[in-house]
């Protein structure tokens, strides 16, 4: 009856030289909080599906990570969010792409999966589906943070088109 949970918060150019002590500390705290949330589900005999949703929801709300609150911004300075979830038990899956008003995109992906008609919804239609399903909504200023806006301006000032080297996560 062994259970296991793994989380990630992105891969890229992290080095001890690049990350500030605060970023390092905040990232580790976020990862630990996600492990706490997911393992609480598993330790209580809950499902892997509920555990991964709980862990990702914590990371989406944590501005140290590129998802949900604190997401990387589009060229136009907006948050266009993507998420997916899949159950290995029956291979049901749900996913959303390019959404911008649901506080936790992983919950919207799960709602798509539970609804069962589709696997992938995108854009304004997915935002509309979220409203129909009564999911928690969030305004743009929940997702768009000043440090992300500054990264976008820095990228534009360097003549970049988009962050192909994943410098910003």
């Amino acid at each position: 009856n062994r259970w296991t949970l793994l989380v990630h918060g992105g891969a890229g150019m992290m080095t001890r030289e690049r990350l500030t002590p605060e970023q390092d500390k905040g990232t580790r705290a976020g990862l630990n909080a996600a492990l706490d949330a997911g393992s609480a589900v598993l330790a209580a005999g809950g499902t892997a599906l509920d555990a991964v949703a709980a862990a990702v929801r914590v990371l989406e709300d944590d501005s140290h990570f590129n998802s949900g609150r604190g997401a990387a911004l589009t060229w136009d300075g907006a948050a266009e969010l993507d998420a997916a979830i899949m159950n290995g038990r029956d291979r049901r899956a749900g996913a959303v792409a390019g959404v911008g008003a649901t506080r936790n995109p992983v919950d919207l992906a799960r709602a798509v999966m539970e609804d069962g008609a589709h696997v992938l919804l995108s854009g304004a239609g997915a935002d509309d589906f979220s409203l129909h399903r009564g999911l928690a909504q969030a305004a743009a200023d929940w997702f768009v943070l000043p440090e992300r806006a500054a990264q976008l301006e820095e990228l534009k000032a360097r003549g970049g088109t988009f962050d192909v080297e994943m410098k910003y996560g």
């Binding site: 009856n1 062994r2 259970w3 296991t4 949970l5 793994l6 990630h8 918060g9 891969a11 890229g12 150019m13 992290m14 080095t15 976020g30 990862l31 630990n32 996600a34 492990l35 997911g38 393992s39 598993l42 005999g45 892997a48 599906l49 555990a51 991964v52 990702v56 989406e60 990570f65 590129n66 998802s67 604190g70 990387a72 589009t74 266009e80 969010l81 993507d82 997916a84 979830i85 899949m86 159950n87 290995g88 038990r89 291979r91 996913a95 792409a97 992983v106 992938l120 995108s122 990264q151 976008l152 990228l155 534009k156 988009f162 962050d163 192909v164 994943m166 410098k167 910003y168 996560g169």
Partner: protein, 132 residues
């Protein structure tokens, strides 16, 4: 990008991934995260995968499904399959990382970047959080 994979006490697995994409993206660009089989996949017959990295290359390599298919069809260990597929992504010119678990509760990660924000915990009491 953030993600999680889990194996519960009944041996069922699941995966979830969520992202803002890349800074400065335009024209409706979508990466691998929401594409089932690229950035996210789960199958009790093999494992659960959540990926992060240069999405275009993860899409072309079909990373999450490829890892699961290698395990299901060849019986390869999860770590061997994950490392092989990440090497395939590198051959295409991409980089990034995956977290993987299976119905036996393995805890596996593989990445080809300088760092990956990652953590794992098991019912046996093991707990690791790492960045570099």
């Amino acid at each position: 990008t953030v993600g999680a994979v889990a194996c519960d006490a009944h041996g069922h697995v699941a995966a979830a991934t969520s992202t803002g994409g890349v800074t400065g993206k335009r024209w409706g660009r979508i990466g691998d995260s929401p594409l089932i089989g690229a950035g996210t996949y789960a199958d009790d017959r093999s494992g659960a995968v959540s990926a992060t990295g240069s999405g275009e290359f993860f899409i072309r390599a079909g990373v999450a499904h490829e890892i699961c298919a290698r395990v299901r069809l060849t019986g390869e260990p999860l770590q061997v399959a994950a490392d092989a597929v990440m090497a395939d992504v590198a051959e295409l010119g991409g980089s990034g990382g995956v977290i993987v678990t299976g119905p036996e509760g393995d805890a596996v990660w593989s990445f080809t970047t300088l760092g990956m924000n990652r953590g794992r915990v098991t019912s046996g009491g093991e707990r690791t959080v790492a960045i570099y």
